[in-house]
Symmetry: none
Subunit: 206 residues, 4 copies
């Protein structure tokens, strides 16, 4: 069999199941039935069930971390010449499409979200990737917009909350239950998009 194929398939299926039913509600048997392999084969690739989660977590953090770094870099570049409020849009779109709506990231965020009954480390990861990092990033965006006089001076932390919290609410409401269908994604884009539009309009932009 082609190298790495099986391991990848285990990870794919595991994430899919975990994000739908929750880590502890998914059995090794469930995973193996769908791969499909024998349970003993799974243990050739992973030491135990927890390790599947760990590997998924590492991959998520790599990927999400790379996205965050990229967005910050783009922010710095674009900010140089005054470009109007538009440059925030790119970031938001990337944040939507490559993070909240991206199948892998979306699934993992859902998994984190459900498993908060478990250990602290999961709770902390969820706090980081769902709250801390997005809010910190948005603060920087608004600070820049204010520096350039595009937005009136204000508390950037508060602004980040006002901008991000409706997005978060829409994420929770439309993107964390059942399968991630194109329908749900579209609904999210519209609802969250409306909130963003109004946010900028209220502040005299766009």
């Amino acid at each position: 069999m082609a190298e790495g194929r099986t391991k990848e398939k285990i990870l794919d299926i595991s994430l899919e199941l975990f994000s739908q039913k929750g880590y502890s509600a998914v059995s090794i048997r469930d995973i193996c039935r769908l791969v499909p392999i024998k349970e003993s084969t799974l243990y050739y690739y992973f030491q135990n069930k927890r390790e599947i989660f760990q590997v998924l977590k590492e991959r998520f953090e790599e990927r999400a971390g790379a996205l965050m770094r990229r967005l910050e870099k783009e922010l710095a570049v674009k900010a140089a010449p005054c470009q109007g409020p538009g440059f925030g849009e790119g970031a938001t779109q990337a944040f939507f499409e490559e993070y909240l709506l991206d199948p892998f990231c979306n699934s993992f965020l859902r998994l984190l979200r459900m498993e908060q009954g478990g250990d602290m480390v999961v709770r902390e990861a969820y706090d980081q990737w769902m709250f801390e990092k997005p809010l910190r990033f948005q603060e920087k965006v608004f600070s820049l917009l204010m520096e350039q006089g595009i937005l009136p001076q204000a508390d950037s932390e508060m602004l980040a909350m006002q901008y991000y919290s409706p997005i978060f609410l829409c994420f929770e409401r439309y993107l964390t239950g059942g399968e991630l269908t194109e329908e749900k994604k579209e609904r999210f884009r519209q609802e969250a998009g409306r909130q963003i539009t109004v946010f900028f309009r209220d502040r005299g932009l766009m």
Copy 2:
């Protein structure tokens, strides 16, 4: 043992455990160990594990429904004579203290939140009690405030989102993991309170 005592204790302990570790991560054994009764005794009071959840759900809906109805009634009464924006405060405080921060309601909301991997009915309940009802209620509040000229005319639905989403974010961030300590409650009150204050100040009130 006094009638009803045991059943209540089963419900109390079940909710406590469910809200901390999630429905499926809590075993009948776990519950009975803490009551304490034998497993077979539990089945004298409940047909199966799911029924414990059902009873909790009914009680929650009774209680939360009563609260919502009460708030709506108070809204109608208070609204009659013009009383300034203050009359919204009472509702918000009651929503905080008797709903999001109330041990029973908080626990059940956490339980709903975690079990969305399960069946649709749970998802719908969560949507109702976490999004639909609070947002609908807030819309009415703002409609009234606008009718009375206290708030400038605007899209009340949008306003409700802008008002409620930071509260929801704070709820998710501070009130859904680990035990519900007084510390966490206070933190929530402050963070969510700040958001509300700014919301009204931005709109020329308070």
Copy 3:
């Protein structure tokens, strides 16, 4: 079912199997097949496999401890009036029939003997019950015999070794493998008996 029957049967069968094949070579399934019960039933009576061993150990120590105490008491009583070397015989016979040859004690000693690869506590128990206690007891017997002038003065510790070690060798050789048949028991009685006879004859007694 009659009270206590099942638990006792589990213990009986477990000891039998453990003493034949060794603790770790016996599976819960093996035990349950012979009882016969379902595996889940076994866990109604015992928390885990180790607890079966623990209970057997407690029972053995109670029983063997009682025997040792009884023999010591009889020694003190009988020693009072001079009765010739005969009084040692009773002790040896009890030690043979109620300890080394007793089905329960024999099985447990075999179990201890085999499981020395495991934890220290098992090793120590084996050392106590196979070496320390028998040798200490025999020392007391010889001290008494010397006090009464029946045996000439000598190092009682050395004497105990000279008396006990052939018995121990016969035990190891004839009583620790396969089933404990009446044939094997008889062979042990004869071989060990001959050693004892010669021991006393060499020292001018009997």
Copy 4:
């Protein structure tokens, strides 16, 4: 890798583990982890787990057989001219150092000792190498000593038991649990040595 290297290492590590934890408590994984090789590699050298034991057994029997033959030959040679009781000493020392205390032989004897729950052939091997052969050899020694008038006429079989059983007890007590440390070896040498000294002194020698 140099030919034979890997196979030897598998045998060394297997014996070490077997003698510490027992044959069935050691997994192929355990062995391979320490060699270190992949499990499939082990099956290049051995058909199955049992074969590792078989090879070890053959080597043990070769080695122990050679030792026994050598001791018997030395006995015949030395016995010719009258040399006093000393010629027994050499045999005993060799029996200690090259058999009971020799790392390879000691490990294998421990392995045999633990695995008596298994098949008859193992039990028989244990009986041969732990009881039959040592006792037969000792009988010959004493027969010779008696022929030469060094020891008074007596039942050589009984004498062999009296001589060997304390040694066997010390072996069981001090050399069959945990690792074979220099400390344990020394303790054995002293305890067993004392027994031998007293044995000869009691019979007017040394």
